[in-house]
């Protein structure tokens, strides 16, 4: 099993959710995070005074999936989250040893 983690722009969350839903992904976890990548935040100007915003608001989306579907999930997220501008985010895939559904105690693929 795999965990697909994506850090995306907040405004792209709806598109990513729709794309995953269309794939038949049963559930996902969303959290608000802040951070920066290569662009190191951005500058805003208020009444002529410049402020550097280093930690930008981002959304982290986590999806558990089986190994067969992982590429489809990654493709869906990347396609839906892409605006083509700097700061679109990153997606990474990690291996998961086991998954347990809390309600029933099912394990592995049955718990997805």
């Amino acid at each position: 099993m795999k965990l697909v983690t994506a850090v995306i722009k907040p405004y792209q969350l709806d598109a990513v959710k729709e794309a995953l839903h269309a794939l038949g992904v049963a559930g996902l976890t969303v959290s608000e995070v802040q951070g920066y990548g290569r662009q190191k935040g951005h500058t805003e100007v208020y009444r002529g005074a410049e402020y550097t915003v280093e930690f930008l608001p981002k959304i982290r989306v986590e999806v558990l999936t089986d190994e067969i579907d992982v590429e489809k999930v990654v493709d869906a997220v990347v396609t839906a989250a892409r605006t083509g501008k700097i700061g679109d985010g990153k997606v990474w895939v990690t291996s998961v040893d086991d998954v347990i559904r809390v309600r029933t105690g099912e394990r592995g693929l049955d718990a997805l």
Binding site: E32, Q34, Y46, G48, Y51, T52, V53, L56, P57
Partner: protein, 450 residues
């Protein structure tokens, strides 16, 4: 003297105008509140709401008497309307044929917002008790007498300087007081290099909208009657403000590369301020010119605090004092007797000579100097006794929590208020570590790839 008949139409308009002017103070609370940090908005808004509470009572006790009682040139007879126990149902004057009660209520709202305006100099660090004492003392020693000088038959009035709706009595007066406090009081932690970006721009725009709406009562109501002069004041208020929005945005666009909503909101306020003293005396085209010039000059002058080194947090000086000065002086340049008649001023550009300009300048700078000096003395005295600002440590913790034990937003729960803001794409804090508001460790501490 024959009794003056009360005019119900004029009375109705002044009652409505009074309510409109009152709305400006909560509007100001939103305008200022959005410009503070997220942990200082409540303290900021409290200063406006407390001005309503404090000044309303002072006005009944002795404020109206000092401002509009029989003048000796400097202040009115303090006993004349003391505690308003007298029969004030009779007409105020021939020009303002409304019950004296109604005139008093209208003018009360001006006193309230003038005091509230000053609070913009204290953002993120005001000690509430110090503010209350200051508000009482400044209203008593500065606003009430100055209103008498300008409108109540005092020396500026007698000299022949005009201030239709409060450029001198309200905006220069409050702006100079804010400058006094900004000079004398502790600057915000790390200012000017710290991150002091506004925490909620939509709130600022909401406040600016409420101010703009209420300002029609402020300016058109100042005629004291529902007539053509009120109409021209209303029209000029609208077009000068619209022009000032454009003036401010043009400066931003050229200087900073982008036009901002904060700039549009600020330009609107600057335009409203500048047209206030002149609104009944200029043609609409003059009002538009005044608005554009004011928008541009105020956009440039808000940067003065960085050059001169005073932390007037929310630019009360750059917007209200500078805007008020432009408006007061504009009467000496572009006023016309076309609408107001010979009782009104005639500006230099309309063949009036420089005399009027001199009178306008004398009145404006006298009020500026008086308000500045008294404000410095009051600010210093209060700060050395009970304190006008909280400690640096308290400022770091957040003035809302320290002074009021409440907070505007809940950043503690993932699905709380902070969550909603973050989902909407608005950072819950200023974004730099020094300025970051309390956030959940799970989110604030993460370094994610962008």
């Amino acid at each position: 003297m024959p009794e003056i008949a009360i005019d119900s139409g004029h009375t109705a308009w002044l009652l409505v105008s009074s309510a409109l002017v009152l709305l400006m103070t909560p509007g100001l609370a939103f305008f200022y509140g959005g410009m503070t940090k997220s942990k200082g908005i409540l303290n900021m808004m409290m200063m406006s709401f407390s001005s309503i509470a404090i000044v309303s009572l002072l006005w009944v006790f002795y404020g109206f008497s000092i401002a509009f009682g029989k003048s000796n040139g400097f202040f009115g007879d303090v006993t004349q309307y003391a505690f308003m126990t007298q029969d004030l149902t009779g007409a105020w004057s021939e020009l303002v044929p409304v019950p004296t009660f109604v005139f008093a209520v209208f003018q009360m709202m001006f006193a309230i917002i003038t005091v509230a305006l000053i609070s913009g100099a204290l953002a993120d660090r005001a000690k509430f008790a110090g503010w209350i004492v200051y508000a009482v003392a400044w209203a008593t020693l500065v606003y009430f007498p100055v209103a008498n000088w300008v409108w109540g038959g005092g020396w500026i009035f007698e000299m022949g300087a005009f201030d239709f709706a409060g450029g001198t009595a309200v905006h220069i007066n409050a702006g100079a007081a804010a400058l006094g406090l900004a000079i004398i009081l502790r600057k915000r932690n790390g200012w000017p290099s710290g991150a002091y970006k506004p925490h909620n721009v939509p709130t600022i725009a909401l406040g600016a909208g409420l101010l703009w709406f209420g300002w029609f009562g402020f300016n058109a109501g100042s005629e004291g009657a529902a007539d053509a002069i009120a109409g021209i004041a209303f029209l000029n208020t609208q077009v000068a403000t619209a022009a000032a929005v454009i003036g401010w945005l043009v400066v931003e666009w050229i200087r900073d590369g982008k036009p901002t909503l904060l700039g549009a909101s600020s330009g609107a306020i600057a335009g409203l301020v500048a047209i206030t003293p002149a609104c009944a005396f200029v043609e609409p085209i003059g009002a538009i010119g005044l608005g554009i010039v004011t928008g541009a000059i105020c956009a440039l002058s808000v940067g003065l605090k960085y050059k001169l080194g005073f932390d007037d947090s929310l630019d009360v000086v750059g917007v209200h004092m500078v805007g008020g000065l432009i408006g007061a002086l504009s009467i000496g340049l572009i006023a016309t007797q076309k609408f107001y008649g010979e009782a009104g001023p005639q500006g230099l550009f309309y063949g009036g000579g420089v005399e009027q300009l001199g009178k306008q300048a004398a009145g404006a700078f006298a009020v500026l100097a008086y308000s500045l000096i008294i404000s410095v003395i009051l600010g210093f005295a209060i700060d050395k006794t009970i304190g006008m600002t909280v400690s640096s440590e308290a400022e770091t913790e957040g003035v809302d929590q320290v002074e009021h034990a409440e907070s505007a937003y809940d950043f503690s729960a993932p699905t709380g208020g902070g969550g909603a803001f973050a989902l909407a794409g608005i950072a819950p804090s200023s974004g730099t570590p020094a300025a970051a508001a309390p956030a959940t460790p799970a989110t604030a501490d993460e370094k994610v790839a962008g």
